[in-house]
């Protein structure tokens, strides 16, 4: 198993370097002068020369790449022109927003998707099966931004003044105080763990649990439900269909019949024997969903007023802010690789044949 994991790790390295190069190239390929984009009317030869020197844009492209590569290895992702701040600061601030959103969405998708899929497969052709499959087909076809707006309308307007009303924008209600984790831990700025603590601090749910702040937890959850639901619907539909069809396939196989024949109860057959194999394709879907979640995050974050990775990527691309484009794409790509690694390891865990193959 260790060898298998190590092998997976090593194959990820060339892909990572490729992605580093591509993000760099892609950012430079975006036409338009960042100096003009940033300084606007104030852009002239003198100010642009100073601007380019400040951000290292006066050097030849290969040198810029070499410097960029060196800086990335040192953990320095550059300065954003737009915000005038280091990209690492922006990541500490924005990445937790999207992580929280994506995790909540994936949690909902897996929980409801797998459950509905199992029920559908167990009660094939029943009303609940047909309803789930019709629902999944429709759910798969609803654009994230349309669903997000519909949900906001239903829960913030139609159900206003009922117990079911949910806030349509922001991560917290106005006036909600968020305790600072670095302060609680007594970490000064400059402490090696300061960044990690601030990052964790911005994961509001985690932060609330850590501080035992139930009001904050409830408020953050209430704000998270609608965007997470909007983002979860498409993967939920895919997972429900996938679970159903692969479970149906597995249930017809010999070893399941054997398990039944030796007198195992229906629960044991289902959970110990059938589900373990039926969930393999579902795990693949989870691994493939990250790209979708990020694309969807641009839309949900726009609709629900979250300032996360999706939103900053969109803003940086449209304003030609190189460093955040590179930094956030890199983080995304690493996340993607990491998730696929987890998926590969899960495979090996679920199906021992794969680790040997």
């Amino acid at each position: 198993m260790t060898k298998y994991i190590l092998q997976r790790f090593l194959t990820a390295i060339p892909v990572l370097i490729g992605i580093l190069f591509i993000t760099f190239a892609l950012a430079r390929l975006l036409p338009g002068d960042p100096c003009v984009a940033m300084l606007g009317e104030k852009a002239n030869e003198v100010t642009c020369a100073a601007f380019n020197a400040r951000y290292g844009l006066d050097k030849p492209i290969p040198i810029q790449f070499a410097i960029y590569f060196r800086d990335v290895l040192r953990g320095d992702l550059g300065l954003s022109f737009r915000y005038g701040r280091p990209v690492t600061d922006l990541i500490i601030e924005r990445l937790p927003v999207t992580i929280e959103l994506a995790f909540a969405a994936m949690f909902l998708a897996v929980l409801f998707g797998v459950t509905l899929g199992i029920i559908s497969a167990r009660k094939q052709n029943s009303f609940i099966d047909v309803a789930t499959m019709v629902g999944a087909t429709i759910g798969f076809s609803v654009p994230v931004f349309v669903l997000g707006l519909f949900l906001a309308y239903v829960f913030a307007i139609l159900l206003k003044d009922t117990p079911f009303s949910l806030p349509p924008s922001g991560r917290l209600s106005a006036g909600m105080a968020v305790p600072s984790l670095p302060a609680t831990l007594g970490l000064e700025k400059g402490h090696p763990l300061y960044g990690v603590a601030s990052f964790a601090s911005n994961l509001y749910l985690f932060n609330a649990i850590l501080h035992g702040d139930m009001a904050l937890f409830r408020d953050a959850i209430r704000h998270l439900i609608l965007p997470a639901l909007a983002l979860a619907t498409i993967p939920m539909s895919i997972i429900a269909r996938m679970t159903r069809s692969s479970l149906l396939e597995v249930i017809g196989q010999d070893y399941v019949r054997t398990a039944r024949a030796k007198g195992l109860g229906e629960q044991a057959v289902l959970f110990r024997h059938a589900l373990r194999n039926a969930l393999l394709p579902v795990v693949t879907i989870i691994g493939l969903s990250l790209g979708f979640l990020l694309s969807g995050a641009v839309l949900t974050e726009t609709i629900f007023g979250f300032s996360g990775v999706g939103r900053i990527l969109f803003d940086s691309i449209t304003s030609r802010d190189y460093a955040p484009i590179q930094g956030f794409t890199l983080i995304t790509a690493i996340g993607f690789l990491f998730l696929n690694l987890v998926v590969d390891i899960l495979y090996g865990f679920l199906d021992p044949r794969i680790r040997l193959g």
């Binding site: 892609l26 975006l30 036409p31 931004f145 707006l149 309308y153 969109f314 995304t332 790509a333």
Partner: protein, 350 residues
């Protein structure tokens, strides 16, 4: 003597007719026997009719601002259908009822005082065409790249597929945003100008933003088709009939075009149908973000994007274009599902 022709005739009739039942004939028949295929075809048929007869079905010019043209025309007026007044005031019906003194607008007016119903109808033209063009470009280039990669193999295969992997490593919408904004920035370069003008004339779209979005979404969709084509070609390449063609001295082009590709088409057709759905979705998402179709083009995503902050006061402006996108995407997804079941022999008898 009388019975002899009877026994011979059926044999003669059955054998040739069996043979004429090609895979495609069987596929279409199987498709028509599936609920998803039926519903999908009906939805798409309906949308194509709407798109073709948009000028006849619409009540107004989709681009016309009705200020000064129509008395009492006010922005974001809710829907108004006189016929609804005769129905009982149930919750949904009530929202279409209005004072007969007001002008009739089936879906109401938008933020620029244009008739929403007519705009949604014309939107079908935009979205269906975008979907087909994107898939056409992606399917042709993807099949070309994929079959070349699979057939030739070796270093070319490696390079092409790593390229596709890298494109796939980026979230599709974010890559499309990047390509789209790069194209928009480079609009004044002469090469892109020529391409855009050519596309404009070829496709009949005036909207430059829509054209760049179309190009961006096409580029992003290529790897899916390339990988699929490669996988099919790889598996078919080793079949005996391909070897037979090679033994007969057929050229590589002939083997690829006549022996391999026709047999690799089934999964590509399924992917193309599903691809139309995702192309429409992606273009609508780009337009929603303000990068694709530009005003006044009646594109559903752009219509929603322009009015999204008015959701709470004028929900009809989100509802109708939103439903239009859902129905279109649903239609192509259902047809794709039906086709997959129909063309996949393993799914028979299920």
């Amino acid at each position: 003597m009388v019975s002899q022709p009877r026994t011979v005739a059926p044999v003669e009739l059955v054998v040739p007719s069996r043979r004429s039942h090609s895979l495609w004939y069987e596929g279409v028949r199987a498709l028509l026997h599936r609920r998803s295929g039926q519903v999908g075809l009906i939805l798409i048929g309906f949308l194509v009719l709407v798109a073709v007869f948009a000028p006849q079905l619409s009540t107004h010019d989709p681009l016309q601002v009705l200020i000064g043209v129509e008395a009492n025309a006010r922005r974001r007026t809710p829907p108004c259908i006189y016929a609804a007044n005769r129905l009982p005031p149930l919750p949904v019906i009530r929202s279409f009822q209005c004072d007969p003194a007001l002008p009739q607008h089936y879906f109401g007016l938008d933020g620029n005082v244009r008739d929403l119903y007519s705009r949604v109808l014309y939107g079908a033209r935009v979205s269906l065409r975008v979907g087909f063009y994107v898939v056409f470009v992606a399917l042709v280039s993807g099949t070309l790249i994929g079959s070349l990669s699979g057939y030739v193999g070796g270093r070319i295969d490696n390079i092409l597929m790593r390229l596709m992997d890298i494109v796939l490593a980026f979230p599709s919408l974010i890559l499309a945003i990047a390509i789209n904004s790069a194209l928009l920035q480079a609009l004044d370069t002469s090469l892109l100008k020529t391409i855009i003008n050519g596309l404009r004339r070829l496709l009949g779209f005036e909207d430059v933003g829509l054209l760049t979005a179309l190009m961006a979404v096409s580029l992003v969709s290529i790897p899916t088709f390339a990988r699929l084509a490669r996988a099919s070609v790889l598996s078919i390449k080793e079949q005996e009939y391909v070897m037979a063609a090679r033994a007969l001295g057929a050229s590589h082009t002939r083997i690829l075009l006549r022996a391999i590709l026709p047999n690799a088409m089934a999964p590509l057709i399924v992917a193309a149908t599903l691809g139309v759905a995702s192309a429409i979705l992606d273009t609508a998402a780009l337009s929603f973000l303000g990068l694709g179709a530009q005003p006044p083009t009646p594109e559903w995503g752009a219509m929603i994007g322009a009015e999204r902050n008015q959701m709470f006061t004028a929900p009809h402006l989100i509802l109708f274009p939103g439903l239009a996108i859902i129905l279109t995407v649903l239609g192509f997804n259902l047809l794709g599902d039906g086709l997959r079941d129909a063309l996949d022999p393993r799914m028979k008898n299920r």
